[in-house]
Symmetry: none
Subunit: 207 residues, 2 copies
DNA sequence: TTGCAATAAAGACATTTGTCTGGTATCTTT
DNA sequence: AAAGATACCAGACAAATGTCTTTATTGCAA
């Protein structure tokens, strides 16, 4: 048997090792702790880990693989998640556009359900500060209010315009005097969603 | 048997789920993917994961529990973290402005070191699509190149302008014909940082 | 001394989890 | 129609991993 190390010195090393691994993204297994600290028994590593849990310095998900984590970070929870950014969107429903994912951007939301990014093409909305290359963050919804900036599918082509609801029809207004409003026939236009945010990357790309 | 989902739609959801879990620090097990996506067979989840590995979108540590991770150098650490958004910034260094944090927004970066958001006031940059209420994402740096959009401190007042470097002096140009360029005396102006991204929330606030 | 707590070890067991084999249904291609 | 590809399911096996039991050594305190 190895001589006992005085104080909580070994436990401190165990704690530091777990912390490092957690910061790297992959929590260690008990046996990885054992190997890293040079124990000849799994149980030795386990005892240190359990004691750290008892002291409140670590937390654990009992029984699960790699179940040790930092208790403080639990409070944070899922703060933001990645939503996909679609590039080319045209011809057909959006469901087919999922193949053309450019990348992902983080959003401050609990669920990515129905939220996606859309790369802007064309200059029809420069009047409200939406430029080519910008990314519009869109929440899927089948209708919107007059004045909302929406993504609409007109004759199998996705476009971003300001929605105006008149009697008996809707209009899609560009925000650029060089472009003309679109007055689609009923049935030839469907609202995909509403633009809730615009992002512009002045340096680098999505990442 | 459940009806088959067309296209790579399901696989895309698998990918997003794994990414989310990786950001939270604990990679999912195959069975957790199965449960999250609602598969009735483990193998279904596994096939999607293995295909994502084959496509190079994921990587794996074969045989190990929770062995899926993101390829490239992205794998280590969180993918996006929250950066503070400062509201009123004037009179004095930015270090004192930390007390006026409006909120936090997620950024696709490894370290929040020196990155912060700044609420835009005034219309001096509307020409390049930066409007009042927008949030400029700023990376702190003491200098910048001509043409960069920078945050500068002129006479104890923070302002966002386009930087022009002439011989022997610098100029801060607004992007709005109604405003005049600022030609500060040397020493009365310091570059705080560079604007690397602009965000506009069309609905709700920061959250 | 005796007793007790802490550290460590060895082996075994139980659960979790990755992996495999085979099968069904739908769609596309030949 | 036949063949292939894709998506999915069912069940089982094996490796990885968490957990338990028992034992040994050392230091400290009553």
């Amino acid at each position: 048997m190895s001589p006992r190390t005085p104080l909580g010195e070994t436990r401190e090393r165990v704690y530091c090792f777990v912390r490092e691994r957690l910061e790297q993204g992959l929590p260690p297994t008990v046996r990885e702790v054992q190997a890293a600290l040079g124990f000849r028994a799994v149980q030795t590593a386990r005892e240190h880990l359990e004691r750290l849990v008892g002291e409140g310095r670590l937390a654990k998900q009992s029984g699960k693989a790699r179940g040790y984590y930092l208790p403080l970070e639990e409070m944070a929870g899922p703060l933001s998640i990645l939503i996909p950014v679609l590039g080319q969107v045209q011809a057909g429903a959006l469901s087919t556009a999922i193949e053309h994912i450019e990348g992902h951007i983080p959003m401050r939301t609990r669920t990515a359900e129905g939220i996606f990014g859309l790369r802007i093409r064309g200059e029809s909305m420069t009047g409200v500060g939406i430029f080519p290359g910008d990314i519009a963050v869109v929440r899927s919804q089948p209708s919107a209010e007059s004045g909302d900036i929406v993504v609409a599918l007109v004759d199998d082509e996705a476009t971003i315009k300001t929605l105006k609801i008149r009697q008996e029809r809707i209009e899609l207004h560009p925000e650029n005097p060089h472009f003309k409003p679109i007055v689609p026939f009923p049935g030839h236009c469907s609202i995909i969603g509403k633009v809730i945010e615009v992002r512009r990357f002045l340096e680098g790309g999505l990442h």
